[in-house]
């Protein structure tokens, strides 16, 4: 189904989602939001899936909101951008961060506006050398959404966050890596093979444990040390009862490779 705006391919524990409106740089319209939502529900309900890889088709990753979409057009009176955020972007960011498995984003080209911040909401971000991140919001009188104003200062500090958000300059992938905004910048040709290799590897790891790591690190940004110590205690108590913990320890003692089930 190449005419669908979202492609979902599930195999060997990995779900690969491709944003598929390359002629519009994979920008979001209502239909793509719906398709992405249902793909994420499918993934959440499928207990065999242990890693999600998100990428874009064509030369861009995602150009954010499609400004020609009827719902956000400004020519027929002021649009309700809040509605679109409440219905689409916020739930999307929440479901990516709540998904109990690692989420890799392979940023294959420009990631602009909400597209940049959705990429940054993923757990491990890989970007092609030719890719870039652009907080375009400031150029049209808006502010970064999809969690951008929370993630940017947390990831690169307030000074760089303000520069990015108020100037709207293109941040090349290489510099994003140097700033600590993403995990790695990779040669264009190698991006997808490396991303898939990483996804395949993560899909064999202790998924529930990785989900706890993700959760604790995400919440850490807004917790006090005291709260975080309590959270670690509770999550570790639960993790200590998992089959994967038992298997991990047994494999270590027996000097063999562990066979994790993900739970």
């Amino acid at each position: 189904m190449t005419d669908s705006s979202i492609l979902l391919d599930c195999r060997d524990g990995v779900a690969e989602i491709t944003l598929n409106r390359p002629e519009r740089l994979n920008s979001f319209n209502a239909e793509m939001h719906e398709a992405l939502k249902s793909a994420l529900v499918t993934i959440r309900r499928d207990s065999t899936i242990r890693c999600l890889l998100l990428t874009g088709a064509g030369r861009g990753f995602c150009a954010g909101q499609d400004l020609s979409d009827r719902k956000v057009a400004a020519d027929t009176g002021p649009p309700d951008l809040g509605e679109s955020i409440e219905q689409n972007y916020n739930p999307l960011v929440r479901s990516l961060t709540a998904l109990e498995m690692p989420v890799i984003c392979a940023v294959n080209g420009v990631a602009a506006g909400a597209g940049a911040n959705i990429a940054l909401a993923c757990d491990i971000v890989l970007a092609a050398e030719s890719a870039s991140f652009v907080q375009v919001f400031c150029n049209i009188g808006l502010l970064p959404d999809s969690g951008g104003t929370w993630m940017l200062p947390n990831m690169v500090g307030l000074a760089r966050a303000k520069g990015l958000a108020m100037l709207g300059d293109k941040l090349p992938a290489r510099q994003a890596e140097q700033w600590g905004l993403i995990w790695r910048c990779i040669e264009d040709d190698a991006l997808m093979s490396e991303a898939r290799q990483m996804a395949a590897h993560l899909a064999t790891r202790p998924t529930a444990g990785l989900a706890k790591i993700k959760r604790a690190l995400n919440e850490g940004a807004s917790n006090t040390l005291d709260q975080q110590l309590d959270l670690e205690l509770q999550l570790q108590t639960v993790a200590g009862r998992s089959d994967d913990y038992r298997e991990g320890v047994a494999a270590f003692l027996e000097k063999r490779a562990p066979q994790f089930k993900g739970s």
Binding site: Q234, L235, T237, V238
Partner: protein, 252 residues
Amino acid sequence: MSVILCSHPTDNVLQITLNRPEQRNALTNDVLKAIGDALHEGKARCAVVTGNPKVFAAGADLKELATMKAIDCHLDPRPELWKRLYHSPIPWIAAVNGLALGAGCELALHADIIIAGESARFGQPEITLGMIPGAGGTQRLIRAVGKSTAMRMVLAGEWLTARQAHDCGLISEVSVNELTIETAVALAARITQQPPLAVREARKLLLTAYETPLQQGLDMERRAFSLLADTADRQEGIAAFFDKRPAQFEGR
């Protein structure tokens, strides 16, 4: 199949698990009666009432309600069944994961302490069905969460997340879902380790506070305080403190 399951996670703690998952633990009169019986009959000194990971209890039985006219509601023995829960001889803790809606929220409000997992949601959505709460969802709720929050919940049918419920004082602790029940059981066990007579008097006074003018409550507190001065457990508690050893309370 029994509507509730009873177990004893420790010697003195009774765990009551609502056991009608297919009906989302809807609280029929039978269920309320079974909970009341368990609280009144057992030899436990503290109880934990819980549901399943998805639902604590999602309301009354709507099919049953739909058939009831005013006079049926008026003659319904249900208020007496609720009262029996409130007048439980032992303290009990609601351990809530998932939905606590309508009568389910009111059941939690009857508990002495509520502990919840992050998945817990508290709501009184009766208004959306053309009804209002009928078992404390206006009276107990407003005392537990304050006026504005109670109004939002009851007039607009809004739910509270576990965090919101904690912030407004409805519940005493939020834990990760997997640990909700054992957190409640551990707390129950700590209560059972305290001197039984003092626990009973203190609980009675705390519950009376909602219904008594301050001076009258203070007088009652002082009377109970004085009465307990003659207990063996008080002597033991103080002696153990000075001897730096754990107290051995006997309920005398």
